[in-house]
Each structure stands twice: as C-alpha cells, then as structure tokens.
C-alpha cells in the first residue's frame, strides 16, 4: 500500500506503523462523572466498519508524524491523509 503523506508525498505503507481507529485521539475527560464508562468505550469498543475508516498511522521510518488516513477497508483505497496533530487540534483537544 501507499500512503500519500501530506508533507512528504507517496510513501510505502511499510514505513509506517499502524495503531487503529482515529477515535483513539478522542481520549475522554478523566474528570467526567462517567469517565470510567467513557474510558472503557474509548479503550475497547470499535466501529470496525467495512468501508471508509479513519485510522492512525505513524511514520516511524520517516518524519515521525502521526497521520489520520481515511481508507476504505474493503478496497484499501485511500481517500485522504491528514496530519493527526491538525486533526486533534481541529477536534478541540485543549492541551
């Protein structure tokens, strides 16, 4: 597979390490009243869709950036790739 890095252009997926669903960015607020429930869902439950999937890849053999890759899990077609840091900020992570 090839991942089109937003800064570096197309790179073989072998340079990357995969983590999983991009919802891993959404670490819950530990002070929420239902934090335990939220962390359980965050830690363990996945949509695991057959189709478009936003997922985290780490360019370990490259610039060390984490990317959010939107990829189809049936065709493997990559729709777009973003820097995870930008995504996390856009999601409003506060620190």
């Amino acid at each position: 597979m090839i991942i089109k890095h937003p800064l570096l252009g197309p790179r073989d997926a072998a340079e990357f390490v995969y983590l999983g669903d991009a919802s891993m960015i959404d670490r819950p607020n530990p002070n929420a009243p239902d934090a335990k429930e939220q962390f359980y869902e965050y830690g363990y439950l996945r949509d695991n869709p057959a189709g478009e999937h936003k997922e985290l890849w780490y360019h370990e053999q490259g610039d060390r950036s984490w990317l959010v890759v939107t990829r189809n899990t049936i065709t493997h077609e990559v729709k777009y790739v973003q820097l995870a840091r930008d995504v996390a900020r856009a999601k409003g992570r506060d620190r």
């Binding site: 073989d12 830690g43 996945r46 949509d47 695991n48 057959a50 049936i74």
Partner: protein, 416 residues
Amino acid sequence: MRYSGFKVFLEGLTGNRGWKTAWRDPKPRSDYDIIIIGGGGHGLSTAYYLSKVYGVRNVGVLEKAWLGSGNIGRNTTIIRSNYMLPGNEPFYEFSLKLWEGLEQDFNYNAMISQRSILNLFHSDQQRDAFVRRANSMILAGADAELADEAQLRRELPFLDFDNSRFPIKGGLYQRRGGTVRHDAVAWGYARGADSHGVDIIQNCEVTGFHIENGACKGVHTTRGDVNAKKIAVCVAGSSSRVMAMAGMRLPIESHVLQAFVSEGLKPVLPGVITFGAGHFYVSQSDKGGLVFGGDIDGYNSYAQRGNLPVVEDVAESGMAIMPMIGRARLLRSWGGIMDMSMDGSPFIDKTHIGGLYFNGGWCYGGFKATPASGYCYAHLLATDEPHPVAKEMLLNRFERGHLIDEKGQGNQPNLH
C-alpha cells in the same frame, strides 16, 4: 450413509454410482428453535453438538455463501493447546481432546495428524516464559515438553543452528499438537449436523435482526424472514458488521492474515515449527506443500488479500530458521479476515439483547478451537449457562478488568 473403507471398495466396484450428497440442500423454514448465523467451522460444529449432544435438532444454519467459505476454508490447519492463562488453556485442551476423537465421532476422515508443534526460543527471557507456559499446560492436564538445543539438533538437523542471527536455544514441544485437513472439518460437521436433522442453508445472507422490546425474535435474510427462539451469531470476519445490525459495537477489529503454501515436496518437516525471533510458522500438508504464515498485515481490512511487506517478512523469517527452503517455491497466497479482539482472546457469550448470542473474536486462532467453540456455544445455547471451560470468555470482561491477554500486548488488536 456410513463411510468406511469397505463402502469405498464396494462403490469402486460399481462405478461409484451409489454415493449420496453429503448434506441436503433445504429451503429455509420460517421457524427454528435456534438459528446459527454463519456456516463456517464454528457454526457447523455448534449445530453438530447442539443436535448430537444437547438434542436440539430444530436448528437452521444460515450461510451467506457456500458452507465452509470463511476462515475454516483458508487457514493453516494447526491444532494445539499450548496456552498459558487459566482463561484459555482448559478450553483449548478440551478442544484438543475433542479433535482426538472427532473423526470416529462424525464418521469423516479429517486427517487429524498429531505430528507435534514446536515453539522455538532464542533467549533466556523467552525460555523463562515458555517454561511458565509449559507448566501451565501440564497443570491443566495437557502435554508439554521442553527440548534443549542438543535435542533439537538431533531431531531437526535442518534448522539453522550455526549461522543464525538469533541462536536456537531450545523449544517447547506439544507432541499432541498437529494439523488437520481444514475443509474436511467443515464437511464432516456439516454432514454430521445434517444427518441429525439440522438445516444447512447456503447462499442465504442475513440482512437484519428482528428485535422487539430488547429481545431478538428472528432475522431477515436474502431468502426471507426466519424466526427462532434463539439466534446465535458465529461469523468470524464479519462479527462487527453483523452485530452492528443489532446496534452493538464490539471490542474487535478486523484484520487480514495471509497464509502461504509451497509447491508439493516429498516429506521434509515432521511437525509444526514456529520461530520465536520472527513471525513464521510452518508445517507440511499430506499433499506435500509447506503451509506457512506469519503476522497479520496489521491494518483494519475486510479484503481477503494481503500486501507484499508481510510476504517478505514471513519469507525472511522462514529462511532465518530453515535456509533449506530457499529453492522451494511459494505457490499460492491468500488472506483471511481475523476478528482481532482487544486482548487476543475470544468471546462465547450472551448479549444484552434477549435471545441473541455471540461467538467471535478468535483472532487468528479460531481453527484449533473449532470443536470446543461449537461444543461450548451449544452448551450456552442449550442451557443458558457458560460451559465451565469457557466461563471467562465473556463480553463484559474489559469493563470488569478481567483480561485474558496471553501476549501481554494490551488493547491494541494488531499486536495480538
């Protein structure tokens, strides 16, 4: 119709005209006591044990394609019970015991061959972990044997002992482990279940659940609605997709695992061998092909095909321990979808929806579990109580903090 050597002989004399179909091709009925979604290994064995052991015969198995088309038809055929944790080892040992009498039980030669499985280790730390595991196995009534380097040199002289990057220091044998002709398992169970009255309905895809007031009453399929008192989901590779139709999210990610077979060769490997310093396992089939594999590709996928880096990684690991296979040729590769759970261990459980049961999350270890999975699932379906050897395989274990994490990798499925 009972199969036997005598029958084969008689039929041979009369032009093989008397062989009947191995199973019927029924139409789905509108009502069953239990329907099993998924006509793969686990679904068929569930149907078999439900009908044979628990006396539940009004059972329909709904399969979206041809029976055995899932992972039972695309695995590397290994059976073993070399697990470590109490949540797993008794279950897999129960499974191995069922394998040991299976062919006579269902009157089908699945070529169960207890050729042994050997896990090589290459460091003191690995050895310590294997000793711990060997002792767990023995404590649970399984067999385990630790071999040192000298013994392995005698038994497997073709391994690379002298020029290897990671020296082979020994290995953990389970002599009762081995291989099985995988398709035959599906066929044997299907034939057995069919003979006890189970309807196996192929080309019948479930398209939705009929849920009323928190209870599941039946399913919608491409061949009409089917109702049942209990609905048992058993769809490795599609667990999340199917359970999503019931509104459930699962602690599962689906990944592709590739497997490979070489051209046929005269016998070279005595049993199953796994590499401890890389990702590689190999055995030789009765036809002579080296059947081997390694790690999952590592990303979510529902495509039954893999990519090149893992092929190379597997070949590299293979050459690292047995450089004699360099001139053997890889003949075919394929991929299966593994429902990887968050701790690497499976689920056999009720769901919060009445009448809806779930069996899945077998990662890449479902084949060896086929008999016990079916037996324990049948037990759960028939009695509404978990079978004693499967009592920890519950969906709520992550909320409780009861992890069954053999590899200690945590909640990242692609590392299990």
